[in-house]
């Protein structure tokens, strides 16, 4: 009886503390999960842009230079009377999907090169890594500008130009991860039980590179959104009427001091997207650290 009482008391004394630690951990994980999930919400929102936008981004909807909050324009109207909010929403859609496309292409190229290099080893490895280092040691945006200048300015060419310089880092990460995984006992066991190279790579090595890749890629979204916006500002993107955030800021630069919103709102659109990328990257990093 006495023993049980002491035992119970001990349990009770312990319990609140344990619970507090649990709930703190839970809170942290929950916070990180929410942060990490933000890109999914943004992707859904930008895909719904046609439903969310109150007006068409191309047609005149009212008087020019209506200040934000007046005449039914939440973010005001631009120099010809188009709805700024609708244009920013469509522009965010273009920026976000472009950034995701470049990340996806970078991952495909980087993972392929990194995996082949790590699995093959020997001269294939040194050749591919020399090639990767070459791209890593060149200034990315400058090379992207040269590519676009050669192909002619358009959104597709800008994406190609940036994609050409955006894979080497992933290749390095994948190669490093695979090489450290290969030395682990479970890979040795897989090898000894006669599993072929292809299956070992696809089933046992590649999944192990996933955490590092996801964190890096999500941290890259913000950088990429900013880089693409800068190139679009320089006139490397789509031609005039299309709603592209960097180009919108550049074209409305002349109105900055009188009608600031025409130039500033597209920039804030970029800021939100880049912020979402950076926050989700931090959240994912926290989640991976907790594992």
């Amino acid at each position: 009886m006495a023993v049980t009482e002491v035992y119970l008391r001990g349990q009770q004394a312990k319990l609140p503390g344990q619970l507090r630690i649990r709930s703190q951990m839970f809170k942290k994980v929950r916070g990180n999960t929410i942060m990490a999930a933000l890109p999914l919400i943004v992707t859904a929102l930008v895909l719904l842009a046609p439903l969310l936008a109150p007006h068409s981004p191309y047609t005149v909807a009212g008087p020019a230079f209506t200040p934000p909050g007046h005449g039914g324009f939440l973010l005001g109207s631009d120099s010809v009377g188009r709805d700024e909010l609708s244009r920013v929403l469509y522009g965010m859609r273009a920026s976000w999907l472009s950034a995701l496309a470049v990340i996806a292409s970078g991952l495909v190229v980087g993972v392929t090169i990194g995996t082949v290099a790590a699995v093959a080893g020997g001269w294939v490895d040194s050749l591919l890594m020399r090639f990767t280092d070459l791209f890593l040691s060149l200034p990315g945006p400058v090379l992207a500008i040269a590519v676009v200048a050669a192909l002619g300015p358009s959104l597709l060419h800008t994406l190609i130009g940036v994609a050409i310089v955006w894979w080497p880092f992933y290749a390095r990460i994948v190669r490093g991860e695979i090489r450290s995984l290969s030395a682990r006992p479970h890979l040795e066991a897989a090898k000894m039980s006669g599993i072929g190279v292809m299956r070992r790579t696809l089933r046992h090595l590649l999944p192990g590179t996933f955490p590092a890749l996801v964190v890096t890629a999500s941290l890259d979204i913000g950088n990429l959104v900013l880089t693409l916006a800068g190139l679009s500002f320089l006139g490397l993107g789509s031609p005039a009427p299309s709603p592209e955030l960097g180009a919108m800021s550049a074209r409305n630069l002349t109105f900055l001091l009188q009608d600031y919103w025409t130039a500033v709102m597209p920039g804030i659109g970029i800021l939100i997207l880049a912020l979402v990328g950076n926050i989700s990257g931090d959240g994912l990093r926290g989640l991976m650290k907790d594992r």
Binding site: P139, V142, A250, L257, L271
Partner: protein, 329 residues
């Protein structure tokens, strides 16, 4: 040590050589025919043929590549389709202004980065707010910072000028304004240059400063946990002394490497900011050349910046191995 320096320089030369090959391939892949770009669309067939031979475009590709590299070694970067002048002449005119802007921006970025890194390792509410500011700052496009500066400091408070490299009293636009005036002992000219460079340089510097600050912060955190810092503290040194005498020198290396790497990323920002502030530099030259597909001009800019970037990073690596002999590449 000597071997290390030699190896690092050899690899830099290799990278530059590869860059020239990449540019040559891009030039061939470009859908602008150089002959038509020079002669215009209405040139006669005979003139086109003569120009093709003059440019050597009828020769085998490999021969063209070698003469391209040979020309580059003699600083012959071709003729701009737009200005009709040698690209090297154009670059010599526009480069100094960009170098001055980039140097000031770099100085601000490093100083600000170190301060940001130092403040953000402290604990408590202010540091938390500060980290939030860092996160937002890292997500801000450089032109938005310029806009904020223009609206506040130029339009609202009238403390800084909006455009150009120097005021109307300065006859010469382009070139090193601050440096030239400093050499000539013209103090008001120096001040004028500083006033004009502040806003553009600040707009460029903020994003790299934040990257440098983040890297510096993580290396500082690692250093402050190390044994020699504990020893320094236990022998009674103040926080300040530990930081200045022991921690900062051992954690500045990664920050320096980051600075070198940021230079490449900075260029997109430089071009945007030069465009906004009508700064007579090569970013401005680039933005003028892009819409008319002036490939020789862009190739020249790419080459100059690429060479600068590669060699500065080589120098950073060498400097780092001098400062810390444990660093090996």
């Amino acid at each position: 040590m000597f071997k290390f320096v030699l190896k690092r320089i050899a690899s830099a030369v290799g990278v530059v050589l590869a860059l020239t090959v990449v540019l040559f391939i891009l030039q061939k892949a470009s859908n602008t025919n150089p002959v038509h770009a020079i002669l215009g669309p209405n040139a006669s067939a005979a003139a086109v043929k003569a120009e093709t031979i003059k440019l050597g475009l009828n020769r085998p590709l490999l021969a063209q590549l070698f003469s391209y590299i040979g020309n580059l070694l003699q600083f012959n970067l071709g003729t701009s389709y737009r200005t009709r002048r040698p690209v090297s002449t154009d670059l010599a005119q526009y480069l100094p202004a960009t170098v001055e802007l980039a140097l000031v921006a770099l100085l601000i970025a490093v100083g600000l980065g170190l301060i940001l890194g130092y403040i953000s390792i402290k604990n408590g509410i202010p540091a938390k707010i500060f980290r939030g500011v860092l996160l937002v700052g890292a997500s801000t496009p450089s032109y938005l910072i310029s806009f904020a500066g223009l609206v506040l400091l130029y339009s609202h408070f009238h403390v800084l000028p909006a455009t150009g490299e120097a005021g109307a009293t300065q006859p010469f636009q382009g070139g090193f304004v601050i440096f030239d005036n400093l050499v000539n002992g013209n103090i008001s000219g120096v001040w004028d240059g500083i006033v004009h460079v502040t806003l553009p340089a600040l707009s460029i510097a903020l994003v790299p400063a934040i990257s440098i600050g983040r890297v510096f912060r993580s290396s500082l955190e690692a250093t402050l946990r190390s044994d020699f810092v504990r020893t320094a503290r236990s022998k009674g040194l103040s926080d300040q002394a530990v930081f200045l005498r022991h921690a900062i020198r051992n954690s500045i290396g990664p920050g320096l490497t980051m600075t070198g790497l940021q230079l490449g990323l900075m260029f997109a920002g430089v071009a945007v900011v030069e465009d906004i502030f009508a700064w007579p530099g090569i970013g401005y030259y680039t933005t003028e050349s892009i819409p008319v597909s002036d490939f020789p001009a862009i190739a020249g800019v790419t080459l100059v910046l690429g060479v600068g970037y590669v060699f500065i990073n080589a120098l950073v690596d060498i400097a780092q191995s001098l400062a810390d002999p444990r660093v090996k590449l």
